[in-house]
């Protein structure tokens, strides 16, 4: 494959972009960044509540795409999903690191006092927010809470169980069944994983 010019890059699918990235084409990484960095940054900041740390995560996620483009498998999901999953994993690692543990515990106490998480308000993308919101509404409260605390709170399911005073097995099952239920709802709404 020859180098793609600017017009071709703009028109290229994400999968083609990643192939160009694997050929060391920096402009392809720039285009992937242009498409997805905003979402990656927003997720990192929401989890970490710190713009500087969030920027570091964005940097790591895109450097990883540059250094290991083969880790992205287009057959297993969209590039956006992949980058957000990478971002989420890294942000959660940071959250769980010893240095931030104390801060986080204090924050959790404060949040609990403020009424806890509101998953519906955490989803802000206008284009999909409505559909995601509808899908969320079909979830039983227990599932919705467990997913929110795990995904946006960065808690393990064991920690979620502690926070909610529920058995670990119950929380584990609720996360899984909630995600499956949402998948069904979103697929019905034409949003089945195709970002």
């Amino acid at each position: 494959m020859d180098e793609l010019d600017d017009r071709e890059l703009t028109a290229a699918s994400d999968a083609v972009l990643v192939v160009a990235v694997s050929r060391y084409q920096q402009a392809a990484l720039a285009e992937a960044y242009r498409r997805h960095a905003g979402a990656v940054f927003a997720l990192a900041r929401r989890l970490l509540r710190d713009a500087t740390l969030a920027e570091e995560v964005v940097q790591e996620v895109f450097l990883r795409l540059w250094n290991q483009p083969e880790k992205f498998d287009p057959a297993r999901g969209s590039l956006r999903s992949y980058l957000l999953a990478q971002c989420h994993g890294r942000a959660v690692d940071l959250l769980r690191s010893e240095s931030s543990r104390r801060q986080r515990e204090e924050r959790d106490v404060r949040r609990t006092a403020e009424g806890g998480y509101d998953l519906e308000h955490e989803v802000v993308d206008l284009a999909v927010a409505e559909r995601v919101k509808e899908a969320l509404q079909v979830l039983p409260e227990g599932e919705r809470q467990a997913i929110a605390l795990a995904y946006f709170g960065g808690h393990t399911y064991r920690e979620v169980a502690d926070l909610l005073g529920e058995p670990e097995g119950t929380v584990k099952s609720r996360i899984r069944s909630g995600l499956k239920r949402m998948k069904g709802e979103l697929a019905g709404a034409g949003l089945g994983g195709d970002l």
Partner: protein, 262 residues
């Protein structure tokens, strides 16, 4: 929970795993299982898609962040592009030598010669008393030799390629003859070994006559054996001039050698 887990026990963890909400030992158990179980892999991919929708939001990344990322990608590229399509070898086997990329690339580019150098340099220093600073020179030479070996292999393959066009470049007195070969995709190689030696502050520059005029195809040092070049159209003439180090946009010097494609 410790010890081997059943498929069902692993499956129960998949939702939490997809949200990075399991403990490290559980994550490891799930990953081991995923390597063997396509059904569970597909389920995790589904969960990740849903999670991505939850985490997906608009907004822009902060100003200046891309510049920092771009700035940390890698060191500057070498003067000549070596990531050309090489017949008979995957580009990936050549590129890392030319462009030090972290991860896979770095391993190839420095580990191999460094290991070979260890023993060689020890002997040289002990026996000949060569200064330690020469190590870096030697390392550079060995890296250069590896690059040259790849290039030469590619050039040799091009020379015997039946689709290739051969050009013989000669000096006006007929004393110096070098050969260039051009493949249909525009990749070319000049075998520059027989060009006369130049002083350090002088370089050779390769030119191609195209429909649009005479264009520079690259500059190279006097000790270069194979010069790779890339042409976008057909070439009516190839020529080499001698220039000041750095090269020129348009040469006023007579060609050292020149020739028309056969």
């Amino acid at each position: 929970m410790t010890g081997p887990r059943t498929h069902d026990e692993i499956a129960e963890l998949l939702g939490a795993y997809a949200l990075h909400a399991v403990d490290p030992d559980e994550a490891k158990a799930v990953e081991d299982h995923l390597a063997e179980c396509p059904r569970c892999r597909a389920e995790v991919a589904d969960h990740r898609d849903v999670a991505a929708l939850l985490g997906n939001s608009g907004g822009a990344a902060p100003e200046g962040l891309w510049d920092r990322i771009a700035g940390s990608l890698e060191e500057p590229a070498p003067p000549m592009r070596l990531d050309l399509p090489f017949p008979g070898s995957a580009p990936a086997s050549v590129v890392p030598l030319a462009r030090a990329r972290r991860g896979r690339g770095r391993g190839r580019s420095s580990w191999l010669p460094a290991a070979a150098l260890g023993a060689a340099a020890a002997v040289v220093i002990a026996v000949l008393g060569v200064r330690v600073v020469d190590q870096q020179d030697q390392l550079d030479d060995m890296e250069a030799a590896l690059v040259d070996a790849d290039l030469e292999r590619a050039a040799q393959a091009a020379l015997v390629d039946s689709r290739a066009t051969r050009t013989t470049l000669q000096s006006s007195d007929g004393d110096v003859t070098v050969v260039a070969v051009l493949l249909p995709d525009g990749t070319g190689y000049l075998m520059a070994d027989d060009l006369p030696d130049l002083p350090d502050d002088r370089i050779y520059q390769l030119w191609g006559q195209t429909e649009g005029g005479l264009i520079s195809l690259g500059v190279f040092r006097t000790d270069t054996t194979v010069v790779p070049f890339q042409s976008t159209g057909s070439l009516e003439l190839l020529a080499v001039t001698e220039e000041d180090a750095g090269g020129v946009v348009a040469s006023e010097n007579p060609p050292v050698v020149a020739g028309e494609p056969a």
